[in-house]
């Protein structure tokens, strides 16, 4: 039970991390149609800028400053580069961001070095928010903060006690992800910006002649998306690792989230993130493979077949590639994505 709860929490919080990473991308992708390959690079920039700022003024101010800096950089990039290629269509847009991602990685390494920097979460976020104590006799208990060591050990060897702290960093991450969801949702539904951009994708001139400053809106949206990535970076970087490879490792999975959720659908991205987070976490927990499946349903297998790697691959081994499998299946059977309204 406690394993289930912890796994569920892990899954949800990982899912929320994915959402945090991809919310900015969803924003940019759904509104501007730009597949921003440099999104993860902005995430990384957020982490590094956050790291530097935090050294001078502490973590909390950095949490505000870094996203702003990254947002401004994003806006500047939109203005100087992306805007120039917008008229050539989506492939050049994508390639420009591709080029940018190379440049950012190199610049980051020039400025901050090629190895990880030590970016720690603040005091307040170190340690657990709460601890789950599973006592084989007394059952399950929840204690806020750290559990005293004596609670986690039993004098009697027959009694098994397991303490599972839930890290505050993860809790904070979840909180921020939810705030992001709310703010992007407000931006999309409470303002006309979304409409302006959607309209401008097909008929930019018509939108302009209705009195909307389309280039500026594009710039703002791209800046906002980058800022969201930057915010995710400060949190992700301090919770996990701040290193030059951090962009590459999350690069493609966030596309999966956006696409699986349904292009242009914020709620879809949210659902997809949670789903992928939970699926992946629980997949790790299972040792099932085709082999065990065959054995359970009683299919006789030859020895050579038994040693076949495909058959022996367990669910937990393939867990990290499940998102891609999920992506391919979703697109084949439901090209609009989970909650999307139309095909790409």
């Amino acid at each position: 039970m406690e394993f289930f709860i912890i796994s569920m929490l892990n899954g949800l919080s990982y899912g929320l991390l994915l959402f945090m990473l991809s919310s900015g991308l969803t924003l940019i992708f759904s509104m501007m149609g730009v597949l921003n390959f440099a999104h993860a690079s902005f995430y990384m920039l957020g982490a590094y800028v956050g790291y530097t700022v935090a050294q001078f003024v502490g973590f909390w101010p950095a949490l505000v400053v870094a996203p702003i800096v990254v947002g401004l950089l994003g806006a500047a990039f939109e203005r100087q580069c992306l805007r120039k290629v917008h008229k050539y269509g989506h492939v050049p847009e994508l390639l420009v961001t591709f080029g940018l991602s190379y440049v950012i990685v190199e610049l980051v390494q020039l400025i901050w070095g090629r190895i990880a920097v030590e970016f720690r979460p603040p005091e307040q976020l170190q340690g657990p928010v709460f601890t789950l104590i599973n006592h084989s006799v007394d059952g399950l208990r929840l204690i806020w903060g750290t559990a005293a060591p004596e609670l986690c050990s039993a004098a009697d060897a027959a009694v098994r006690v397991v303490c599972s702290p839930f890290p505050a960093t993860r809790g904070f991450m979840m909180l921020v992800a939810v705030v992001m969801l709310a703010s992007v949702w407000l931006l999309l539904t409470r303002t006309r910006i979304g409409l302006v951009i959607q309209a401008a994708l097909t008929h930019p001139q018509a939108v302009e002649s209705l009195g909307h400053n389309v280039p500026r809106v594009f710039m703002l949206v791209f800046g906002a998306g980058s800022a969201l990535a930057g915010l995710a970076g400060v949190i992700g970087g301090s919770t996990f690792l701040t290193e030059p490879a951090m962009a590459a490792t999350v690069g493609s999975v966030i596309f999966v989230v956006v696409v699986v959720g349904g292009m242009g659908s914020l709620s879809g991205a949210f659902v997809a993130s949670l789903l992928i987070g939970v699926i992946q976490t629980f997949a790790v927990a299972f040792e099932y493979s085709l082999l065990t499946l065959f054995e359970q349903i009683g299919v006789p297998l030859s020895d050579s077949l038994r040693n076949n790697s495909y058959i022996r691959l367990t669910l937990s081994q393939v867990a990290p590639i499940l998102p891609y499998l999920f992506l391919v299946l979703i697109l084949i059977f439901r090209p609009r994505g989970l909650l999307g309204k139309r095909e790409g």
């Binding site: 796994s7 990982y14 030590e118 790790v284």
Partner: protein, 387 residues
Amino acid sequence: GETVKMVRIDPLTGLLGPVGVSQFKGYQFFAEKFSGKGNPAGVKFEITAIDNKLSPAESLNALKAAIDQGARYIIQGNGSSVALALSDAVEKHNARNPGKEVLYLNDSAVDPDLTNSKCSYWHFRFDADTSMKMEAMSSFIATQPDIKKIYLLNQNYSHGHQVVKYAKETIGRKRPDIQFVGEDLHPLAQTRDFAPYIAKIKAAGADTVITGNWGSDLSLLIKAANENGYNGKFFTYYAGVTGTPTALGTNGAGRVYQIAYNHYNMGGQMEKWMKEFNQKYNDDFYTGSTIRIYEMLGAAMAKAKSTDPVKVAAAMEGLSVKSFNGEVQMRKTDHQLQQPLYMSVWQKADAKYPYSPEKTGMTLAPVAEYPNYVSSTPTSCQMKRPG
């Protein structure tokens, strides 16, 4: 004396870029130290590097470029995939271009295949392979009565697979009472979130984890263990690799062990070198193989009275030299260097073990030393010797 041109083919960019860059500095540093009077043959060592981006195909291009540049000695270390490709390519090159042979000196690719099923006469390994390290590691584990349940968590590629294989084999032999309560393979350098694995390890009741993980796969694992209240031990191969100390920080103090042929606090000449290196480059020197390569080459060239790779290779077979941790020998049958190994543990640097990598205030303190014979493992190598 003569100039010996060597080229190191290794990643200078990407995931293992920092490791390659740092190691290359070591080569340059020691090329100076070992040139001229520094070696018995009196030759001058000259080394350059080519970035292979951790790609086997690129490494083969690099090999061609190196040969074009007149290099007859190729050095490589990071990535067993590259090592296997290079070993194969060197073998072919030497067969097809008699008189233009090149030697391949491997400083850290640890796939046992390189000195077993896929061994080559032209390949020499200076690191200890996975099986040797596991021999030593299991000997240490055998002395730890509180270890009862082990979990194997590894990267899903050959290095990880081999750690699993040898762990089961050697520990099963030395401590048959130990239970393997779980086994997991995860993809290389993809996993951000190790919390599910930690949950699983805890649920399995493991008191110890053996992992061949390196880079972020290692540091994130330890971090997740810390945060999620897992207090067991970790036996690792690569806690000291560039970048990992910083990423580890104080996480895992006292319970992360590393098995290697050296550690940060070797004392003696090594201590002086490391200090000098640190001052010069603001970086840590930890790839002791570098030193062994220069020592071995110098001795072999003196013995062969030539820098011709064919003669040097012959001279190097079975050659012993006195190195920073005693005598080491290049075993003739498989070209695997036989050497002592050390078990060390990640902890706060103190007066006794003062060397602190990457200004972390932490260090790897030795807890056990294993002489050559302990770590030596048998080989199935049947190499084709020239002539």
